[in-house]
Amino acid sequence: MTAVTLILNGTPVTADIEPRTHLGDFVREDMLLTATHLGCEHGVCGACTVLIDGAPARSCIAYPVALDGCQVTTLEGLADDPVMAQLRDAFSEHHALQCGYCTPGMLIMARDIVLRLPGASEETIRDQLAGNLCRCTGYMGIVKAIETVAASRLGLAPVVTRGLRGPDRPVDPFLKSTGQLAAPTPTAEPASPVAATVALEPLVNPVELSQSFTVPAEPDVVFALFQDPARVIACLPGARLSEPSEGKTLKAELAIKLGPISATFAGKGTLSSDPVTRSGVIDGRGEDSRSATRVRARLSYTVASDAPGTTRVTANVAYVLQGPLAQISRGSIARDLANRMTESFAKNLAASLTSGNAQPDATQAPLDAGGMVLTLIKSWIARLFGRSSG
């Protein structure tokens, strides 16, 4: 918990707050100021809009711990504000609300619009309201109400607030929280051991891609490398064996990273191969326990001689991802990034072969945005966060 002081609706409030508690929860749960409503908690719907240092902001993605010394104003704090009184009246007059759930956020945004843009047109108002969703009114009454109040301010000087930033506010030097980061996470009960998969289950509706590349080594050498789980895994960015492998099964972890998101898929796999055709399959499944996202993946390879001293490797990758990290929209980015993953694998494979027995840097950081799983997450992030930044 961290001691934080806010000027909340004009009154200094000091409270012990967990860093993760967002401002919307803080004002509602701790301060019992329930005008601020939560509609999505991911910064899209606008129901939770409050004023931070006078400027509209999403309270669901602001954290009190970062607002020490700031002024926070909720709708309750604007009860006596003359512009808000005018807006309340106009909202009622023009039937700008039905269920009233979006209304507090809508009113706070409306106040900023009429102050900042006196005389704003219908078109401007609709544009400025883009970040506040209403599901009941079809916006007709809301736009009209704001238009009326904005019109009444025509000729008045615009009042523009952006929120105070940085040096114009006293800074508590090196404020550090005493958060309980180390709160014990309950440990899972030991799961019963599961017999290693023998027959390969078919993957249903997998994402599939294939790549072919050459490496500077003889086919037998390359094929031998594929029989060594430690070396294969070492070529995969972000992957490591979690325990030594006897050669037929393996336990491994694959860490992936995408901007601020990271996940670690822990799992097991089986290796099978046919020396005659110099082909094989590495089949694995894993789970990121924190997000309960599961992946099943299969690498099928064949190695064949190419130019003298080189080998052509054909790799087919198929995978299925399920769970929260998969509950996302997908984009064209998948193939591009999965190919990058394979490219990286090929490069490391070549390095492993050319440097004799030396393995690629086994402690290498996960390829940023390079994992196959990421290819799926990424377009979702693009959708979710493409609107905003910083």
Partner: protein, 789 residues
């Protein structure tokens, strides 16, 4: 003393300001999330991450066993069942926490309780579930194929119900249709949607030792039905359950069911003797409650060379999801597809088979405009296809086929009793308002900006407030009957009204006060509406089906009339006149120049009984009265929507340039409120037409878990709408009012789709899937270009 108020009317027909607004504009509403009880625990649910699978093991760390509950813990709690009386209906048993099998991504498996939601989510992360996955039924057309894995193992097919209607398809009829000069066959699809009220669902359950009642505060449209459902599932008498709906932040149908999470919270509050709170967050809503509008039609319309409809032959599939929800069941949507597809048209021959398909998706719940959005889209897209085929304007082909004013009252081919109105006139007016002829002229030359403009119409009728005779045929757990209201004059002469319906944004506190004003002359400001509390209100099936203004309005009027008779008796006595000689006006009892206020009358009854007549009726100034419609087949409001759009073929972007609605909602109680319902419904329909879609991958994993993926229309996406009213009073309701709550959401995909297809007709493009996203439009334009090449 003058008794006739010079003030404008506050009764029927007046756009009085809403009584709800003061508290809501001050942020002083009380939604379920605003409530907090000492000692409360908050729930988070571990939900299935697979669409279809056997639960092999649930791993709960020993340290949190006291806070985590599975189906095995809920001993004695029954499955949720929503049977119907329809022959062949297959019954699903829905456990409140999944057991044995999971049937959709998002199905709750473990309930975890902690002091805060954040902590409950921390604990939920430490629980893992082992599944043996089964093939998921993702597409309803695949789910009905032989060999599909069964969602419910003991069924013989993934079908809740097959509905069928046939008229005029005997051998002679078939021969006639076969010879029809115009036959248009289309495959039409509407996508799965998520109702997305801005407030998610939520509830708090607490056992009150004093009243020995389990109280469930819940964000619902139907508190009495939730109580009945809870009583069944928990095996507890009704008298020991109280359900209260506080302020509700929009419903649209999503809050019209008994939810497994409600059952879990109620059970846990009894088990632990602690208040248990659960608030559905947006992610849960999008994943576990994407639950409506997914239809598929294979349909052929037959017409003569002049565009007169000769017949309609349809095969429809409705994706009803994994379970039959209580109380509406999984069949309402499919059955209504069959009965409503013909719309407001004269149709000599009609055949339709509809399958309510069981899939591995969230259960379907009736969303605003139940089934009619899909059937209106299908019928109206067909009408435009006929118009193009016949070379007749889209307006004209409709005028030739619409039921006319002279045919009223009209019984449709499926037996719907239209209660009046002039459907062609609404089309003519809409065409005039949007400037039909000028648009046709404008379309003759290219737009300077290279865009294509198009005009589209859609007409629908909306059956509202239908009652016993309609619903008893379906035999669902809830058949609406006689609606009641209680009225009480308080000692200070103000009025309390109690209704079993529930207002969740529809302004009922205002409109019912206007009805009281109409009957008793009392100022709406002196009327208090108590609703949403089973302990305080008469039983009701709740708010759904565009019924509240009709049935609650009717009941309030009846209660006020009967209360007025009692007020008159006492008032007459105080005025020393005969009851026949006095009347009620402006909240007073009046006789000539003499008057006595309600306040004086009430004070006499309650506090100065010595001044009452000796033979006073002892029943007093409080009563419950009922409303029974003259006919319970429902009112038929209707409207024409006309849309003018501009489409950019290269980007697929659509701009709505103009949008006109001509609506006949009968007598308007509060025109501003009616307009608000129309605007709001239309905005949702625009979402259906252009933006909203829950997509799934091949495993049944939903691919939109945030509002950045699932796009709700904002102020820029909803145009300035123009509404005009025709007011044909319904002959079957108390004031001639009709149900209008859903209509706005019915027509937009039909009208906008027709406008887009009109715009792109020159390119040889005709889309038949909603939403008509930019990507779908670009795909269609590309396909047409390839076809033309």
């Amino acid at each position: 003393m003058t008794v006739h108020s010079p003030l404008p009317s506050k009764g029927i027909g007046a756009s009085v300001r809403r009584k709800e607004d003061d508290r809501l504009t001050r942020g002083r509403g009380r939604f379920v999330g605003d409530m907090k009880f000492p000692g409360q625990l908050e729930a988070a649910f571990v939900r299935s991450t697979v669409a279809h699978g056997l639960i092999r093991a649930i791993h709960i760390p020993a340290s949190i066993k006291a806070q985590a509950f599975t189906h095995a813990d809920m001993v004695g709690v029954k499955d949720i069942l929503a049977r119907t009386g329809l022959p062949g209906f297959r019954v699903s048993e829905q456990p409140s926490l999944a057991t044995g099998k999971v049937r959709f991504v998002g199905e709750p498996i473990v309930m975890v309780l902690a002091a805060s939601r954040a902590e409950a989510e921390d604990l939920a992360e430490s629980i893992s579930v082992d599944y043996e996955e089964l093939p998921a039924n993702v597409d309803m057309l695949d789910a009905v194929k032989p060999g599909a894995t069964l969602v419910h193992d003991h069924w013989s097919a993934n079908v809740f119900l097959e509905s069928y209607f046939e008229h005029g398809f005997d051998a002679d009829g078939l021969a006639r249709l076969d010879a029809a000069p115009i036959k248009v066959t289309r495959e039409i699809r509407t996508s799965r949607q998520c109702m997305s009220p801005l407030e998610g669902k939520g509830c708090i359950a607490q056992f009150d030792r004093h009243t020995e009642q389990l109280t469930l505060w819940t964000s619902t449209q139907m508190p009495h039905i939730v109580r009945t459902g809870l009583s069944d599932v928990l095996g507890i008498d009704h008298r020991k359950i109280r359900v209260v709906a506080p302020d509700v932040g929009g419903g649209f149908g999503w809050k019209g069911l008994l939810q497994p999470e409600e059952v879990c919270c109620a059970w846990a509050s009894l088990k632990l003797d602690r208040p248990i709170k659960w608030l559905e967050d947006r992610r849960e809503h999008l994943i576990a409650a994407a639950n409506c509008r997914e239809h598929h039609y294979q349909v052929t319309a037959y017409a003569d060379a002049d565009g007169h409809l000769l017949g309609l032959d349809a095969l429809a599939h409705v994706d009803a999801g994994s379970y039959s929800v209580y109380p509406f069941s999984a069949c309402l949507e499919g059955a209504q597809v069959v009965s409503n597809l013909p719309g407001p048209y004269n149709l000599p021959a009609y055949r339709c088979r509809a399958y309510s398909v069981c899939t591995n998706k969230p259960p379907i719940v009736p969303y605003r405009g139940v089934a009619r959005t899909g059937v209106c889209t299908t019928m109206e897209w067909l009408m435009d296809a006929i118009a193009r085929e016949a070379g007749i304007d889209a307006r004209e082909v409709r005028l030739r086929n619409l039921v006319s004013a002279g045919q009223m009252p009209f019984r449709s081919i499926t037996g719907k009793d239209f209660d009046g109105g002039d459907y062609p006139e609404s089309l003519r007016r809409a065409a005039e308002m949007i400037g039909h002829d000028a648009i046709r002229l404008r379309q003759a030359s290219p737009e300077p900006d290279g865009r294509k403009i198009g005009l589209g119409y859609a007409i629908y009728c909306e059956q509202g407030g239908h009652g016993t005779s309609v619903y008893s045929g379906w035999g669902i757990p809830m058949v609406p009957g006689i609606e009641q209201a209680a009225a009480r004059l308080t000692p200070d002469g103000t009025l309390e009204l109690r209704i079993g319906n529930q207002s969740h944004g529809q302004s009922m506190e205002t409109t019912l006060a206007q009805i009281a004003n109409e009957v008793l002359g009392i100022d709406p400001g002196l009327v208090n509406l108590i609703h949403g509390d089973t302990a305080m209100t008469p039983y009701s099936t709740g708010t759904w089906g565009s019924r509240s203004a009709i049935v609650a309005g009717g009941a309030v009027a009846t209660a006020c009339e009967k209360l007025g008779e009692r007020i008159i008796r006492i008032g007459a006595h105080l005025l020393q006149e005969k009851p026949e000689a006095v009347r009620i006006a402006g909240g007073e009892v009046v006789c000539g120049a003499k008057s006595v206020t309600f306040r004086e009358i009430a004070a006499t009854w309650y506090l100065k009984p010595q001044n009452l007549p000796a033979d006073v009726d002892p029943d007093g100034l409080e009563l419950t009265a009922g409303y029974k419609a003259k006919a319970d087949t429902g009112t038929f409001s209707y409207a024409t929507h006309a849309a003018l759009v501009a489409v950019t073929p290269d980007t697929g972007n659509v701009e709505i340039l103009d949008y006109v609605i001509v609506e006949d909602g009968g007598t308007l109680i509060n025109p501003a409120v009616v307009d608000g319902q129309i605007y709001g419904g239309t905005a949702q329909g625009i979402g259906t037409a252009l933006y909203e879609e829950m997509t799934y991958d091949g495993h049944g994993t939903p691919l939109a878990s945030t509002l950045a993926d699932y796009l709700l229309p904002g102020a820029n996406e909803v145009p300035h709408m123009r509404v005009a009213h025709m007011e044909t009073p319904s002959p079957i309701t108390r004031f001639g009012q009709k149900g209008i709550g859903e209509g706005g959401a019915i027509a937009p995909p039909a009208a906008i789709g027709n406008a887009i297809n009109d715009a792109l007709a020159g390119l040889g493009v005709e889309l038949s899937v909603s939403p008509m996203s930019p990507k779908r439009i670009r795909d269609a334009v590309l396909a047409a270009e390839r076809g033309n090449a």
